[in-house]
Amino acid sequence: MAMDLTLDSLARSFSETGYVTTEDDQILITVYLALKLGKPLLVTGAPGVGKTEIAKVLSKAFDAELIRLQCYEGLDEHKALYEWNYQRQLLRIQMMKDSECLAEKDLFSPDYLLARPLLKAIQNSGPTVLLIDEIDKTDEEFEAFLFEVLSDFQVSIPELGTVSAQQIPMVVLTSNGERELSDGLKRRCIFLYVELPSVDKEYKIIRAKVPEAGEKLSRQVAQAVSLLRSGLDLRKQPSIAETLDWIRAMMALEAERLTPELIDKTLNLLLKNKEDRDGFEKNLGSEDLVDQVLQAEYKNAGR
């Protein structure tokens, strides 16, 4: 798969699945390199910039099964790799307690093995995308265990032997950067930082995801969100998903262009923090925001 891959074919696949990339964001070339080098792709960036989406796009583009490991505090190898179905084993023992033909190996057979995402990805015979989401939420011990699995793609199960991957899965790890990841893990990955989008890129995303919104409103919303991100010292920057929710809310109100009243009615979908709302009222306000959006529009039209 990676052998036939070219940068152009990857760009086409991304575009067909509706994932917008630009030359500046370096997403395509980085994903391409990760696939060509057969290395895990570590994607970081603020929440809501489309990190997880990359794995989904790869799964669609290569018609690969997406196996997701959602990380959380306390996740351990039993939940991530495999565990024995203890209750089922007990049941079997209870059922067979009067019979003498129950051997230990019967209880530790693949029937009683609960494969968790990492083992599933290794065992899968077809193309696979393994998404390890929010790796920064796990403990450091788990991270160390993980990079051992990711280097060899094989697992030793004492009762069954070693299981090796039939086909190396494409691995995408995401992190919101809440914790510094270990050097060991970062070293083994190709690194991609996804930034919040530029006005043009966000406009393209809106057009791709909410085509029913007119060109004018889409451009104005993209501009307004960009002004909010750069002009205010926000505690939580609006994500792309929030921009899309905002414009969908405007569509529900049958809006065709941005107005101060419309912003007042819908801004809760974009700024979800009271301090950010207060900061917006104090330092910018909906009328000024619309003014600035219009000014930017005139400036662009004049170019």
Binding site: E23, Q26, I29, T30, Y32, L33, A34, K36, L37, K39, L42, T44, E73, G74, D76, Y86, Q87, L90, Q94, K137, D139, G177, E178, R179, E180, D183, K186, R187, R188, C189, I190, F191, L192, Y193, D233
Partner: protein, 444 residues
């Protein structure tokens, strides 16, 4: 192909000199990655190198500037080479002039190249004063006899003393943006170029001594401090969150739960691993020389206090005062209250007395889970006694972290630094870049 390998390994060397950690495996990835990129496309080459070599986004500006400087067109490189030669010639002339001016009875003084260069940078009146001194000494008498060449070492020592004085007066050189010179001319030229570009494009506030931060940079600085405190708060709360991770089998609970299954242990119960969250105790020196640093660090602690419970903060100069922030209180208002109320702001420093007060009035603040963060330049009265007290306190707490606002280069000149370095974990901390580096390290 070999040319490509060489270019990449030299670029990696430059990045390493700049403080970016890159392993051999990553270098190999970069070289292999470039074979899949269009080498005629600068953007692709940059993206390939960035994806394989840069794993910490805080270092992105460094990488960007290093890439622009290193992969610059040949004419720019030629210009750089010419500039270096010019600088070398000027330096050689300056050193030779210094040698001819710094003589005792016709013999050049034995001074280091650095000292000669320093001499050449002195204002004319400074040079003149040293020359006058040498002139008088050359012709001077002791006990009626003319000074001879045996006095030369004494004269040299006196001149070195004067040069040291001027070194302190002239202050530190413009920092190389926290980039440490490598000693290789070509590399240092690149470093200098990177530092200039960083200064031009990103401002110097990250690497500027906090006491010199310009008012125009304050919003950016405050925003960064808030980000740092948020990052540390989330790391602490996550790391010490009561973990679901299980320990050994809990037989008592397992047997108890098995009763509902007729004695079969269907549900296994495990013991939870106990983990205690650290309690922070900040001691912030607000004496005259430290007040400006303190305002930034207090802002950092305020950010932490907004996200984490149980942070005690104190300011001290001649004595100690409690300033613990209340959640939900605005920082500016809190600071105004603290400064208006405080008897200590801007006074002299007596850490020993302050620690006496801490132990006498706030003994509960010290426990085995306490992490003490102490911000001070170590210049205090009764330093010896304070160090002994800290040693005793250190035995009762988790750890003592000392954020020292003196540049590390000066540490060896201060006895007090050595005293306190023995009883605490000391970090150099006079710029935001230092604070950021400390926060990124696993310091708790």
């Amino acid at each position: 192909m070999q040319e490509l390998d060489l270019r990449v390994t030299n670029f990696v060397h430059l990045l390493r000199v700049m403080g970016i950690r890159i392993s051999v495996a990553e270098t190999l990835d970069a070289i292999k990655g470039l074979t899949y990129a269009d080498l005629g496309d600068r953007a692709q080459v940059k993206a390939a190198l960035r994806a394989t070599l840069l794993k910490n986004m805080d270092q992105l500006p460094l990488f960007e500037e290093a890439f622009s400087s290193y992969f610059s067109p040949p004419e720019v490189k030629g210009q750089r080479h010419a500039q270096r030669q010019e600088v070398e010639q000027v330096q050689a002339r300056e050193i030779s002039r210094a040698e001819s001016e710094l003589q005792f009875q016709g013999e050049s003084l034995e001074l280091t190249v650095e000292q000669k260069q320093l001499y050449s940078k002195l204002p004319e009146e400074g040079k003149q004063r040293i020359q006058d001194f040498l002139q008088r000494s050359s012709e001077g008498h002791k006990l009626g006899e003319k000074l001879d060449v045996n006095f030369k070492p004494i004269i040299e020592n006196l001149v070195r003393g004067q040069l040291d004085y001027w070194k302190r007066q002239l202050g530190e050189e413009t920092p190389l943006f926290d980039l440490v010179p490598s000693g290789e001319d070509e590399m240092d030229d690149l470093l200098r170029e990177v530092a200039d570009s960083l200064r031009e494009h990103h401002g110097n506030y990250l690497y500027e001594d906090l006491k010199n931060i310009a008012d125009k940079d304050l919003p950016k600085v405050n925003s960064l401090i808030r980000k740092l405190s948020k990052r540390l708060a989330s790391r602490i709360s996550r790391r010490y969150h009561s973990s679901k991770r299980v320990g050994r089998l809990d037989f008592r609970r397992t047997i108890h739960s098995s009763l509902s299954y007729g004695g079969t242990p269907v549900e296994l119960k495990f013991k939870r691993r106990p983990r205690s969250k650290p309690k922070f105790l900040l001691l912030c020196d607000v004496s005259g020389s430290m007040a400006r640093y303190a305002s930034f660090v207090l802002q950092f602690i305020y950010g932490l206090s907004s996200a984490l419970k149980g942070i005690e903060s104190f300011v001290f100069s001649e004595d100690l005062e409690r300033t613990t922030f209340v959640r939900g209180q605005n920082f500016e208002e809190s600071m105004v209250k603290i400064m208006n109320r405080s008897q200590e702001w801007g006074g002299g420093t007596n850490l020993a007395r302050s620690l006496d007060t801490l132990l006498a009035h706030y003994p509960d603040a010290i426990s085995k889970d306490t992490v003490i963060i102490l911000l001070s330049d170590t210049k205090t009265l009764e330093a010896r006694r304070a160090a002994l007290q800290l040693k005793q306190i250190g035995e009762k707490v988790k750890q003592i972290i000392w954020l020292n606002t003196l540049p590390r280069k000066q540490w060896s000149q201060h006895k007090s630094v050595r005293e306190f370095d023995r009883v605490s974990r000391m970090f150099e901390c006079y710029t935001l870049a230092h604070l950021e580096k400390i926060m990124s390290s696993q310091f708790v």
